[in-house]
């Protein structure tokens, strides 16, 4: 008998269930009247241990004794467990590995996911065993059987299916190991042979094959009594509606309704069952959460949330926690959805991707790694690393990161540990247990082991890993890294973690585990057609017709079971709310057919469609809110007045542009000094292109200040050569960079043409990439870098400033159309007292120079004057408005600060 049984709580007084337990108790007592108070002479088979307490209670009540020794109350599987076996049981991990190998050898399925296929097969094999199906000796015979069952002529496809199952079945069963299912059957057989006490069985649904077998065998020796809730419910007038609606139809709805009204005028469920159709996931969750709290307030002691839809359940749990209501979760979560396995998989990701920065940082941010080191040290290190990575744009390679981290002790040690851990796993193939051992070692080095051990789920995960390793220790099949990873993923997917850390009157559970259980109130979550009955998308093996003839359970059975469980749930509980999403993202979503049936009959018989009506109105208003901090005022355009301390003493041309485009943007960038995080860029982008173009032209002109002195071909070759040089590293990294190079090279001839013309006009290249700093007043300095300065040969010291732009002339003209909206050229002109200024537009095979339409000196003058005026005003306390035009706002990184879209709509 398991010892870590759930604590048994007494659950108030329920009318419905008490009736059933009472009749069970009386029957048992009657059978054992002379043995009272010692009922050890009887055995009661329970669906689960929650039924034990109420039964005990019923017994003592019925017997009216101060104390009584109880019958053996046990689930069949636990009882079977007590029977010792001579041969050891072969764990499924071994069997699935064997199957995988068998499939791998046979090369039947090219691109299939063999692990999941093996999983499916294993399921089928167990099903066959469980239902005592023996495949015929000959494959031909089997495929004949199939053909017959399929009502079809035999064809290749069919023969192949037959072959796969047949061959593997024999391969596996020849292995001789004793699998779990067989072991169970052997134990039951023994048990049946040695039972000497009458047996009482609590049922809600048809017996499964092994149980049926077992009880048959027992009947030979002892009396076996079955308490089938379905039959009992039929006799219980409170449940007659359920019975009629959910059991196989005997007559039509209307006749049933008439009969109900006639014979059971007050058997209406109105007081017991309500249905709530929500218009969205959020509403369903909120309604459920609200109802649970209402029940709690009404003093309900134990409340079950039966989760057909896990997603909503998760939402409900979170909402309940808002109100301080914790939920005890009986249903498990598969490991693959837990953070504890995330760290593990991320580690393997990182290895596989050669420490791709995102995987790496994600891994290092896991709370489970480097346990033993204080958390803030770990974080310090990872943040430092991240900043370095972003700054230098390193995408992957552990070594590359190590170079970066030079001199950062914290980061260094972290990375070194990663390297050590990585070495442990550096191999191409091994046995599963070998891989697991290596994994275990690497985790130890990373301090993950320690981290997980400290966590409840983590500890269970480690336990599982260990168990698998032991189970597979003997297995010598070798697997590639990929195969192993796939296996591990599947394992994590199939094993679940049950969180026992919370004790609460509110319980999250599943339909099947409510058999013979009663609660003060039940919330049936996600009761729509797609979740109730829940649909498995059938196995690839056979179909129902075949399963039927082979003696395997069909979908029919599976559905009937859910129907019976639902019936039992409704019979055992007299306060139930079923919720579902009547519409899902705009699409209709149907109620569970079972409930729809019930609703129809009930409405017809008692004129009540069971709809829950008042809840909807409450949902929005009846929410718990966090302690009230005064709510914000309606958003309005910000207009900060900036203290002198924050007003910059220097400004660049682009800064000035920003100031003109939108003062608030300038404020955010240059007064708050905020800017975006650098992203690690992997592909080449337009701005790289721009930078390189600048570099290329600079180098070129340094070498060839005067083109006239060289032959055209020489110039072209040189420029092309420089171009390839500058692009080389990028091309090295990323093939697509070539496309950009080509694009640039297409512009080369045009550029030379343009340059030659301008030389012909007397302009000479003088200088490039010229940094400048020009004090405008005592407290404002203009700074920047000019792409290029030309001088004219005749008009002495006539100067021209140029700025390369990789965009078409039209856009540039547009920039310059309105005076003072793009200040770059004007500022440069001012700095160099230039007579001319222009953008050099370089697009495709066109190179055009675009000059501002206004008179340059005047333009420069006006721009500087305005700059000074604006700064003066800001110092004088002028507020700074946020009023960029849409064009400016579209790509503005400060839109989250000025909140324009909030107030501009108003």
């Amino acid at each position: 008998m398991v010892l870590d049984m759930e604590p048994i709580k007494s659950s108030g007084t329920q009318t419905a269930p008490a009736v059933f337990f009472d009749s069970v108790a009386r029957h048992i007592l009657a059978q054992h009247a002379h043995e009272i108070p010692d009922l050890r002479g009887a055995t009661v088979l329970l669906p689960n241990y929650h039924a034990a307490q109420p039964l005990a209670q019923a017994l003592s009540a019925a017997a009216d004794r101060t104390a009584m020794l109880l019958p053996r109350m046990v689930t069949l599987s636990d009882w079977a467990q007590s029977v010792p076996l001579t041969t050891p049981i072969q764990p499924d991990t071994q069997r699935i590995t064997a199957l995988y190998q068998a499939l791998r050898e046979r090369r039947w399925f090219a691109d299939a996911d063999l692990w999941s296929l093996s999983g499916e097969l294993l399921g089928l094999m167990d099903d066959l065993t469980r239902h005592h199906v023996i495949l015929p000796e000959s494959e031909a015979e089997f495929s004949r059987q199939l053909a017959e069952a399929y009502r079809a002529r035999s064809g290749q496809a069919l023969q192949f299916e037959a072959r796969v199952v047949h061959e593997l079945w024999y391969a596996m069963s020849s292995g001789g190991g004793l699998d779990g299912v067989r072991a169970y059957q052997q134990r039951l057989a023994r048990l049946a042979g040695q039972t000497d006490t009458p047996i009482y069985v609590l049922l809600t649904s048809g017996l499964s094959a092994p149980e049926a077998h077992f009880l048959e065998a027992c009947r030979a020796r002892v009396a076996v009594t079955v308490f089938d809730l379905r039959e009992m419910a039929a006799l219980e007038q409170g449940c007659v509606v359920l019975q009629l609606a959910l059991s196989a139809p005997t007559s039509h709805l209307r006749d049933q309704a008439d009969r109900l009204r006639g014979h059971f005028p007050d058997a209406a469920l109105s007081g017991r069952l309500r249905l709530f159709g929500a218009h969205s996931l959020e509403q369903e969750a909120r309604a459920a959460e609200l109802q649970v709290r209402r029940w709690l307030l009404a003093g309900k002691q134990n409340i079950a949330i039966v989760a057909q839809d896990r997603l909503v359940a998760r939402r409900v749990r979170a909402l309940l926690e808002r109100a301080g209501v914790l939920v005890r979760d009986e249903t498990g979560w598969t490991f693959s959805t837990l953070a504890v396995s995330t760290v593990l998989m991320r580690w393997l990701d990182a290895l596989q991707s050669d420490f791709y920065h995102q995987d790496l940082l994600d891994l290092l941010k896991s709370p489970f790694i480097f346990a033993g080191q204080p958390a803030y040290e770990r974080k310090q290190a990872v943040y430092q690393l991240e900043q370095l990575v972003r700054k230098h744009g390193v995408a992957s390679h552990l070594d590359a990161f190590l170079d970066l981290a030079h001199g950062e002790a914290g980061v260094q040690t972290a990375l070194v540990r990663l390297r050590q851990a990585a070495d442990v796993l550096r191999k191409n193939s091994d046995t599963l247990s070998g891989w697991l051992r290596a994994l275990d070692d690497s985790l130890t080095i990373l301090g993950v082991l320690q981290g997980l051990a400290a966590d409840v789920a983590g500890a269970q995960l480690l336990q599982a890993l260990q168990t698998w390793q032991q189970e597979l220790a003997a297995d010598s099949t070798r697997f590639s890294r990929a195969e192993w990873r796939h296996w591990l993923a599947q394992q994590l997917n199939e094993n679940t973690f049950i969180d026992k850390s919370i004790d609460s009157p509110v319980l999250l559970t599943s339909l099947t585990s409510t058999r013979w259980r009663s609660f003060d109130a039940v919330l049936l979550l996600g009761a729509d057609a797609s979740h109730l009955p829940s649909t498995d998308n059938g196995s690839v093996w056979f179909n129902d017709a075949v399963r039927g003839t082979l003696g395997l359970p069909t979908r029919e059975v599976y559905l009937a079971q859910q129907r019976d469980d639902l019936l039992a749930l409704l019979a055992m509980n007299d306060t139930v709310l079923a919720t579902w999403q009547a519409s899902k993202s705009g699409e209709k979503n149907l109620l569970s057919p079972f409930l729809e049936m019930l609703r129809a009959l009930h409405e017809l018989a008692y004129g009540d469609d069971l709809a829950e009506r008042e809840l909807g109105a409450f949902v929005e208003s009846a929410q718990v809110r966090a302690a009230g901090f005064p709510l914000p005022d309606e958003a309005a355009m910000p207009a900060p007045v900036v203290p002198h301390s924050l007003i910059p003493g220097r400004i660049s041309a682009s800064g000035y542009n920003s100031l003109v485009a939108c003062p608030y943007q300038f404020y955010a960038r240059h007064m708050l000094r905020l800017n975006e995080l650098d992203e690690v860029r992997e592909g080449v982008e337009k701005r790289d292109y721009g930078e390189w173009a600048h570099v290329i032209l600079h180098r070129f002109h340094q070498q060839f200040p005067v083109l006239g002195e060289h032959s055209r071909t020489e110039l072209e070759d040189a420029l092309q050569h420089i171009s390839s040089e500058v692009f080389a590293p990028a091309v090295e990294r990323d093939y697509l960079a070539r496309a950009w190079l080509l694009r640039w090279q297409q512009a080369v001839p045009a550029y030379l043409d343009a340059q030659q013309t301008s030389e012909a006009e007397g302009w000479r290249y003088q200088n490039g990439e010229v940094p400048f700093e020009l004090p405008l007043t005592g407290d404002l300095l203009l700074h920047g870098r000019i792409d290029r300065v030309d001088a004219h040969i005749q008009a002495d010291n006539a100067v021209r400033v140029l700025d390369y732009k990789m965009m078409d002339a039209a856009r540039l003209r547009n920039k310059l159309r309105e005076a003072g909206e793009d200040v770059q050229l004007a500022c440069y002109a001012h700095v160099y007292e230039a007579g001319e200024a222009a953008f050099i537009s370089i697009e495709k095979d066109k190179v055009v120079s675009v000059a501002p339409p206004q008179e340059l000196q005047e333009l420069a003058q006006a721009n500087i004057e305005r700059l000074l005026a604006v700064f003066a005003q800001m110092r004088a306390g002028a507020a700074i408005p946020a009023h960029g035009v849409d064009e400016a706002c579209r790509y503005c990184e400060m839109r989250g600060l000025c909140r324009k879209s909030e107030w501009s709509a108003a």
Binding site: Y383, I502, V540, G586, A661, L677, Y735, I880, P881
Partner: protein
């Protein structure tokens, strides 16, 4: 139309039914008739176009079957009569009443699905040897994978920079640039199903396809057309001839003549040809127009002109064909290479997308043995197939159906087929649907299935006024809209109205003159810059929003027969493309009109979603200052600019003081201080977060922010994203704070968006290996993925909002009031850098497949295909208009901007509609006012927290050992037969490192002489372990071991560890004893504690 035939289960039928004629009614009625005729639900397969439609059909069916089950006999008779059932005897009635239950709980159930839904079922049951990969997942979002494939492709090229593929790519880059090249290849990948079909069972697909094209283009790659032409005397003559013709004319003509002469001068062919082209063609490459003057001999002039242009055009075409061929050779090669990467990638992740799915199913069913196998492999055997919206079917899907029919005929009987559709509503060409199929299939079904063909032009939806407009526009069969027949209204007296609003045009913006030449520049602190006048559209938007406001105040609509005040939800706004939606949305927002936008992927770009993303980003990168600043400014914390400046300010004097670790969470409250000072951490220079934590006197807002952020940072480690987010929403009081900060008109939208964001988190958490960083990077991907990123929350569902759809989305929907926006726009972006295809609906595979660059690259040889395409496109344009107009039940409003274009939708409609009075306006007075929400008063207790349940401390090692020891003892002591160590360990789940010690302890007890009498069968009468009993209170208790001697009874209770003071256990033991006493009144009951060290203490 004759429903007797349409609904008769025996007949196969093809129904061509106009919009609003109740196709769903017909289809579901047919299903009911089938069921009545005793057809099993599992024998019915109904396929429609969207999941939504399928769901609605399902719902409608249930509704009707329910009605049949519960209503009175008369009502049922009426119901059946409407569905063309004549004599209705009681047997039939009885059957009708039974259908509800039978259909609801039937196994296998009726199949009402989409093509893809059904295909998925097929794939899951696919024969194992069909080469269909087993255990595949359906992939809904592909863009992320496509990017990855593109990257891998690029890497493969880098690995082999001199390989053939690389060289081809090089060439493509040079010719078309990176962007267009990628577009071209992606489009190829998109059309892969066609490509596979085209090149099916060809060895070297690319070579073969190129050969085909080569033959079609008749391009001679060795020849040099230019040289030949320039060498050709006849061209020279043509030039001369035309030059002379010109010379006889005006001065300009003479000049042109001269130019032409000159053009021939250069000897070098290319130069000569270029010169000629320059002389005769415009920059845009259009032929210059030359017309004869009065004095000239028109005939000879035109003759000479056309002769010359003819010859030049021939050369140009020859060149184009050559280029087209070169391009195809390269692009097909590279496209196939890219495709391989894409497919490989999906295979690796065990996924397939819709196209793969379709193709796999098609391939599978083309193998007759597989097709047959599928017939019996499925649990259902379809004897009746119903196809809805058939005009949207594509050739592959039709092929699949055909093979299915063939196979079912082979296996047992051929199903009856019921097809409903309307070629006039075929608008899914871009999803490879082909309206021409409809005709084909009709023919096929008539021939093979003896199907009846029925047409239905009576609509139950539109008011006569709307229909007049429809008939007016289409009765002339514009642009090949040939199959249109006059529509008639079912509801003859439904009040209706059609209105074409005046086109919004832009009054010329005055050019700004500078006062006395002096430049005075805008002062940005004072004057905002004037918005770019993109203009006309904004004006239309404004007009639109204003009008809407008017409608909801004083229009009325019919709500099943009765007039009521029009609401926002009654209005459906239709646009052809989403491109300009933002403009119209802005206008609506400005007037606080709630709407449900169709703009895709909006969610993550909304400010509120960005706020959350910023906050989350901060939580994993606390040095992200801008993100923090945004969170602070957002309504979550609503800090002021003064707050920000405070933080910015203290950045300046904080050099050197020790900073506490960013985001170290609660485990080091204030205590932990990183040893080294800032200066040694250049790039961790005190982040805003660190400053925030150290502010001397923060504002209340900053105070609150600091506290909440601190706790969230701690939670970010521990909680799954959704749970974290929920805490943030709750503790941050988000919904209320946003509501307070935003104008009322935006409340519902923002609330919906915040919840939509929550749902994303919920779904991601449900996925595998979740983590906050991964979540955020997934969001980044989603955001990048064009038209695959998550949409904004649906206000429409909750409240009362106007709906904006593209015409495509509006398919199958309707509304009392429909507004066609931007209807004067005639721009069609002719497709470039994509696939040119000729696949006749009846053909098993395409007859032509090639790639095209842009308009110039078309040439003469492929002209027929291009023309066919354009004709089809124009026809579909009409279909779109038809669909758009027929959505309107009562009112159709049309607006547009710019100069009126005859062929625009606006143009077409305005030509047939003259303004009439609006009956809905008149009726408004009598309209019942919209019902307002009833407010409920809430029990105050529901607004307060309700602490319930607690965390139970994790079981100590000690406790666990206790449990294990109990387990061992229980199994090792009689009556239980002693089991072997190993199995015991396994059975009770004892870790190996613990086992040894426990085992020894157990053995020590069992062998201890003092205890022998309790464990040795010889020495007692009976014993049992873990013995349950129930006490007077009805509580169930367990006794570790109960041993019965002749005269006394012993209750034994195991305790792990050293013996200790029994005091704490006294009460418990007493209870045991008294209980046992009650049961054995005549024996003395004694009890003892037995400790791990073998000590026994009687109590």
């Amino acid at each position: 139309m004759d429903n007797h035939i349409a609904l008769d289960p025996k007949h196969s039928v093809v129904v061509e039914a106009c919009a609003g004629s109740g196709k769903t009614w017909l289809l579901v009625s047919r299903i009911v008739r089938l069921l009545l005729a005793g057809v099993k639900p599992g024998e019915i397969l109904a396929i429609t176009f969207t999941r939504k439609a399928a769901q609605e059909m399902q719902a409608r069916l249930h509704e009707w079957l329910h009605l049949l089950a519960v209503e009175s006999d008369d009502e049922i008779r009426e119901f059946l009569r409407e569905r063309a059932l004549g004599d209705i005897d009681d047997a039939l009635l009885a059957r009708a009443r039974g259908l509800y239950r039978d259909a609801l709980l039937a196994q296998p159930a009726i199949t009402i699905s989409t093509f893809h839904g059904w295909f998925m079922q097929l794939i899951q049951r696919a024969p194992l040897n069909a080469g269909v990969p087993v255990g595949m997942q359906l992939l809904e979002r592909t863009s992320a994978l496509r990017d990855e494939a593109w990257q891998e492709f690029a890497d493969s090229l880098r690995a082999a920079p001199d390989g053939e593929t690389a060289r081809f790519m090089q060439w493509l880059f040079a010719e078309y640039g990176l962007y267009s090249t990628r577009t071209l290849l992606e489009n190829f990948v998109h059309k892969r199903a066609e490509w596979w079909a085209y090149t099916q069972d060809r060895k070297d697909a690319v070579a073969w396809a190129t050969e085909q094209l080569h033959a079609e283009l008749e391009a001679d790659m060795d020849a040099d057309p230019v040289a030949d032409a320039c060498a050709d005397a006849s061209l020279q003559n043509a030039v001369q001839a035309f030059a002379q013709a010109l010379a006889t004319g005006t001065e300009t003509q003479c000049n042109n003549a001269g130019k032409l002469q000159a053009a021939w001068e250069p000897a070098e062919p290319d130069l000569r040809f270029a010169a000629l082209s320059f002389a005769l063609y415009t920059r845009a490459d259009e032929p210059r127009s030359f017309k004869p003057t009065k004095k000239q001999n028109a005939e000879t002039f035109l003759l000479a002109r056309d002769e010359l242009f003819g010859r030049l055009q021939a050369v140009r075409d020859a060149l184009t064909e050559r280029e087209a061929l070169r391009m195809n050779r390269a692009a097909l090669h590279c496209g196939v290479a890219l495709l391989e990467h894409f497919q490989e990638l999906k295979l690796r992740s065990q996924q397939m997308d819709f196209t793969d799915l379709e193709w796999q199913v098609c391939r599978m069913l083309n193998r007759s043995d597989c097709a047959e196998y599928m017939q019996y492999k499925l649990d259902s055997r379809y004897r009746h197939v119903l196809l809805d919206e058939f005009q949207d079917t594509n050739p592959l899907q039709w092929q699949i159906l055909q093979s299915w029919f063939a196979a079912s005929a082979a296996v047992d009987t051929r199903p009856t087929v019921f097809v409903v559709g309307d070629p006039k509503q075929s608008i899914y060409r871009f999803r490879r649907a082909d309206a021409r199929l409809f005709g084909e299939v009709r023919g096929f079904l008539q021939r093979e299935f003896g199907a009846h063909h029925l047409t239905q032009n009576e609509t139950r939806r539109n008011a006569p006024a709307v229909l007049d407009a429809v008939n007016g526009v289409f009765s002339e069969h514009p642009d090949g809209f040939v199959d249109f027949e006059e529509h008639v209204a079912h509801h003859r007296d439904l009040p209706g109205h059609v209105e074409v609003l005046p086109l919004a045009t832009l009054e010329k913006a005055e050019v700004d003159v500078l006062p006395d030449g002096r430049l005075n520049l805008r002062n940005p602190l004072i004057t905002p810059r004037a918005e770019e006048q993109s203009g006309a559209r904004e004006i239309e938007a404004e007009q639109f929003a204003a009008h809407i406001a008017g409608i909801v105040t004083n229009w009325s609509v019919q709500d099943n027969g009765k007039p009521r005040r029009a609401e926002y939800r009654d209005i459906m706004v239709l646009v052809r493309k989403r491109l300009h939606l933002r403009v119209y949305e802005r206008a609506l927002r400005a007037r606080h009109i709630p709407f449900l936008t169709s703009r895709r992927g909006g969610l993550l770009d909304t400010l509120e979603a960005e706020d959350i993303q910023a906050l989350l980003t901060f939580l994993i990168t606390p040095f992200a200052d801008l993100e923090l600043a945004q969170a602070l400014r957002s309504p979550i914390f609503s800090c002021s600019d003064d707050d920000l400046m405070l933080l910015a300010g203290c950045g300046m004097q904080d050099q050197g003081y020790g900073i506490r670790d960013a985001g170290s969470g609660s485990e080091d409250q204030g205590a932990a201080v990183v040893s080294h000072p800032v200066s040694r951490l250049p790039h961790l220079q005190s982040s805003w977060w660190q400053r925030l934590q150290h502010l001397s006197d923060p504002s209340p807002a900053l105070q609150r922010a600091a506290e909440l952020l601190q706790s969230w940072l701690a939670l970010a480690d521990k909680l799954p994203v959704h749970d974290l987010l929920d805490r943030i929403y709750f503790e941050g009081d988000l919904l209320h704070r946003y509501a307070a900060a935003l104008p009322a008109g935006m409340h519902e939208t923002v609330r919906a968006n915040l919840q939509a964001f929550m749902e994303i988190a919920l779904n991601v958490d449900a996925g595998r290996y979740p983590s906050l960083p991964r979540f955020l990077s997934e969001l980044r991907e989603l955001r990048a993925a064009e038209n695959e990123s998550p949409d904004e929350g649906r206000v429409g569902e909750v409240g009362n909002a106007l709906r904006i759809y593209t015409v495509h989305e509006a398919k199958g929907l309707e509304a009392p009031i429909v507004w066609l926006l931007d209807a004067n726009d005639t721009q069609r972006n002719a497709d470039s850098y994509s696939v040119l295809l000729d696949w006749q609906p009846d053909a098993p595979r395409p007859a032509h497949f090639s790639l095209l660059s842009d308009k110039r690259g078309r040439g003469a040889k492929r002209a027929p295909y291009f023309d066919a395409d354009e004709a089809y496109a124009r026809r579909e344009e009409m279909n779109l208009l038809y669909v758009a107009m027929t959505r309107a039940k009562q009112v159709l409003l049309v607006s547009g901007n710019g100069e009126q274009a005859e062929t625009s939708w606006y143009g077409r409609i305005s030509q047939v509609v003259e303004q009439g009075s609006n009956p809905l306006l008149a009726a408004a007075g009598s309209a019942a006012p919209e019902r307002e929400k009833s407010s409920v008063k809430v029990d105050a207790a529901l607004l307060r927290p309700l602490p319930t349940g607690q965390h139970v401390p994790r079981t100590t090692a000690q406790q666990r050992r206790g449990t294990w020891l109990h387990a061992l003892l229980q199994h090792l002591t009689p009556p239980n037969a002693a089991a072997d160590k190993a199995s015991l360990q396994a059975q009770s789940g004892i870790p190996s490192d613990e086992m040894e010690l426990l085992w020894q302890q157990a053995q020590r007890l069992l062998t201890s002489p003092q205890l022998a009498r309790f464990f040795d069968v010889q020495q007692y009468r009976s014993a049992c372990n873990e013995m349950p009993y129930v006490n007077a209170a009805g509580e169930l208790k367990r006794i570790d071991r109960l041993v019965e001697f002749d005269d006394e009874i012993w209750v034994l209770d195991y305790k792990t560890g050293e013996s200790a003071d029994p005091a704490p256990y006294r009460a418990q033991m007493l209870e045991y004893r008294s209980a046992m006493q009650a049961i054995h009144p005549h024996k003395t009951v004694r009890s003892a504690l037995i400790f791990g060290d073998g000590q026994m203490l009687e109590s």
